[in-house]
Amino acid sequence: MSAMTDSFRPLPGAYPEMLAPDGTIRPHWQPMLRQLEEYGARNIDARWLRTQRMIRENGVTYNVYDDEQGSSHPWMLDPVPLMIDPDEWEALSAGLIQRMKVLNLTMADLYSEQKLLKNNVLPSELLYANPNFLRPCCQFTPPNGQYLTLHAVDLARTPSGKWSVVKDLSQTPPGAGYALENRLMMSRTFPTMYRVCGVERLASFFATLRNTLEGLAAGRTLSPHIVVLTPGSHSSSYFEHAYIARYLGYPLVLGNDLTVRGSEVFRKTLSGLRKVDVILRRQADSLCDPLELAGDSLLGIPGLVQAAIDGEVAIANALGSGLAETPALLPFFPTLCRNLTGEEPKLATLPTLWCGQEKECKQVLDQFDRWVIKRAFSDQREKAVLVQSLSPADRTALADRIKAEPEQFIAQESISLSSSPCWQDSQLVSRNTMLRAFIVATRDGWEVMPGGLVRTSPQADSPIVSMESGGGSKDAWLKARGAVRHVTLLPAVEDEIEPSRSDANLSSRVADNLFWLGRYVQRADMDARLLRTILRRLTEETQPDGTPELAVLLHTLSEMTTAEPGANPITDPIKQAAETKTLIFNMIFDRALPGNLHNALISACSIGSTVRERISIDTWHILDRMQGELQSTPSSGDLFDALDMLDRLLMPLAAFSGLSSESMTHGYGWRFMDMGFRMERAVMSAQLLQELLVKPSSFEPPVLDAILEVANSAMTYRSRYQSRVVPLPLLDLLLCDDSNPRSIAYQLVLISRHVHALSELHGRGRLPEQTLADELVLHIQNCDLNQLAQVDTKGRRATLHTLLSEVIDSVQELSNLITHRYLAHVDATSKLASAYGSESWNGEDE
């Protein structure tokens, strides 16, 4: 066809997605390829570079569990979509819908009458040896008898071209959100190609999901409160949880945000408890209720099973639905299909044998090389093993394990996955390919997402396809029949949404995280400024008489970052250059030192990632950039490198407060963040003044200069006084001047404003924190500067010390009061157990 496809060769032995047997391009690929040609390789590269940056900056990530640093990996997307033949898709969809019907009926039977066991349709070991069969879930039937609301199926195409099921994902089926994000990126990067190809939209699928979720609350309420439950930001697909929540317009919650009271489930918000009607669950079954489901874990929402029994909350997918993804069920699907629906299966399953059956087990061991071995009941604990690739010793070991516990293993035929074109080094190359399809329940049936998540192998010769092993992903394009339907998730009738300016429904946990985000960002800012002040003095010759203030600044640094005081404190930083450098670098880079710059920044970023749906994209970019600055600077460099890094870091730090103030609505969420920010600044400024002013050295001016520099107020001082720095005006500027945004008074005034604004949430009388905040402001405004600046006979500014201590204590007290009143009461949870014998202890050892 052209230069782009001329040199392209599909993988040998695999079904070629793009090429027909005679080497021509299959018709449904042609329009897309013509567009690629038109863009040309250089244009594609340029666009794609931009998209990859967008992916990284938007924080589209996939967390890898066994990664040592537990870090998240940027999402890998390939610019060439997988084209799907509409006729083929129709047959595939029918098969998927039939599969859903059968799986749902199977669940309904296994969690109630178990006729499938009694009638010898399924071997009972499949249930009894299966950790995904949760007996407490036999005590309820989910609303509409619907166990599976959203389901995913991994499909592979055999060399003969037949789509076959490799795996079911029913517990927390991941990927639909990534598919949507892929689609967004593709349509933004190649708008013309997307339009010309007439691709079926994905939005209708999510609209159906939303209708179905609302339908689950039918009969109980007309305007259901629906939440998305995530295990948290460490979860492998947390990005997707947040993404789906934002796309569907539901709050994203953690187990801690929910509480069972009576037989109802509530979400803890700033303004109190709000009843939850439907939970879109992204948390594994066994982590949902520590009382009934967890065995020996404490995670989850105690009482959730009881709420499900009482029918006060609908959970999608239903608790216990992990059973449907049992790999050992795969070979039984045809039998289940015939038995439960009277139909022949329309969609093939990849040949799979369960070793728990004698004949099948023998068959597996006899032709061992034919198979990929997987766990029979939970395929997440262990990776699939390709027998061919094993050493003789490992083969024997695996065979012995299978013989010892045959019911724990399945064998799936090892096939060459189909081959599709991917973009690499400015040309098309071939990669193994799998398709994850998504199915959502409707009022009376099922609907298949017109598209899906395509995953490709990292190299041409690696048959195992997964994100964990470094593979990539693709969008799947299905040409719409007729005109493309436009579906939007915005409500059809505008007046359905009542105007509301309040975010009083904000989850307490989110407010708590915003509060701490503010605190950590400000801590990082103060740390960085202090470090920069010190580094400047070490690297520049600023004063003819050396830099006498350095020792006291270094001491302040270790005090403020709660480091263990060194065995011999640094008295002469110039002579003790090596020790000084070690101290400074530890304060910047040490991963294990609480309170240092690294710690504050990493904490800010990790908290930021849990409230991403609450802060603007730009604010998130700033956090991301700060982390990038820190990580890109080697801790092996010299003082100048470190100083450069701090200079680069302080810009985004300064931008953070400005941007969040401009881009977040000034609701309660913003107030909590700003309050955290102000409290940290007040406390750290007070500590700084205590360290540097209370015991003045014989020659104070250089210390005063340094204070002004750390407090970023040198310019103001000089424009006001145009003289050498002396204590009294400095104290006025940094302590009492409420027009200086760096002064303690300024912080206290703003804190007090926030405290008063928050009290509206409570609505009953004057609260103690309001009184305390007002008193604190008055106290600072009325202080006697002359007295504060005075040095007593012991050489100390004792009055100043007392005042600053009061500020620190009172702000801490305010923080406690606020936390206690509004934020998540994350009480320690413990398990209670009666014991045999008469007396027992639980809790920590004495």
């Binding site: 178990q114 066991l117 009694k118 009638n119 010898n120 071997p123 009972s124 070991e125 249930l127 009894y128 040896a129 007996r135 407490p136 036999c138 005590q139 509480t259 069972v260 009271r261 009576g262 037989s263 520590p290 009382l291 009934e292 065995g295 020996d296 404490l298 105690p302 009482g303 009881q306 029994i309 009482d310 009461h825 009480d827 320690a828 949870t829 413990s830 398990k831 209670l832 157990a833 009666s834 014991a835 045999y836 014998g837 008469s838 007396e839 027992s840 202890w841 639980n842 809790g843 920590e844 004495e846």
Partner: protein, 319 residues
Amino acid sequence: MIYHLRHLTSFRYTQPVTFVYNTLHLKPRELPWQKVRTFEIDIEPNPVVQTERLDYFGNTATFFMIQSPHDAMKVLTKSIIEIFPRPPASGSGIPWESARQTMRTDTTPLGLDAYQYSFASLYAKPLEEARTYALPSCRPGMTIHAVAMELMTRIDTDFTFDPKATTVATPVTEVLQNRRGVCQDFAHLMVSCLRSVGIAARYMSGYIQTVPPPGQARLAGADASHAWVSVYCPQAGWLELDPTNNQIADEQYITLGWGRDYQDVSPAKGVLLGGGKHTVHAQVDMIPESEIIRAQQNRQQLQSQNQQQQQQSQQYWWL
């Protein structure tokens, strides 16, 4: 036998508890050989929710929730239970070697129900160590019941009862190593052993009556929650064995319920918020009705004697 059963469990916390979610398995199970004449349950402080349901295994589970801050909680159950002799095993049963094969092909409701107890559960897995311990009692051709009886006796001989040696969550491997534990540990161990050789066994939860030494009075609260084992033999049925006391469960045993292990049927399990450390104190009185009647008679005698004395003294007073 008729028993008057009183079971008080008191929880005390070092810090106030704001929420408690609890599932109890404290209502004796209705059985052909066990009639529950009366049963009442009293929880303090008052739960906001308290519901009863049958769990998967057919035991009664009581769910309750307390939502007011408290630093102590009491659960008191009182019941009158009538126990009849358990029906004898119907036949001698089958050899232990064929247990697994026979059970897996039996899809009758009884067979299916029994078969599930031959699989691993959280606290009673068919471990290799348990199998090694069990094998000397599994000689060719022995019936399942014979194997189980011998195993029970060996556990009673080889292991020392020691309440200080273990906690609720001590794993079977540790019990096997230290050779010490309480009834719960021995039951888990025996269940593990049986499962490891392909025999279905379930964990029984209930009470055992303690008989005071001859001539001594019954001590209040001295009876105890107890755990033992029930073994399934195709064709012969269930046989209840108590490895702690090396005996077949008889009319001295009250059954609360059963499950795969302690986790399924623990008398009280809960999740609480706050509370710091907590202590649990349990007090069980399982008194045969005959003793109560005797005690009542004694008391009446005593009272009438007192009355006589009082009358005498009153008379004296009037003199």
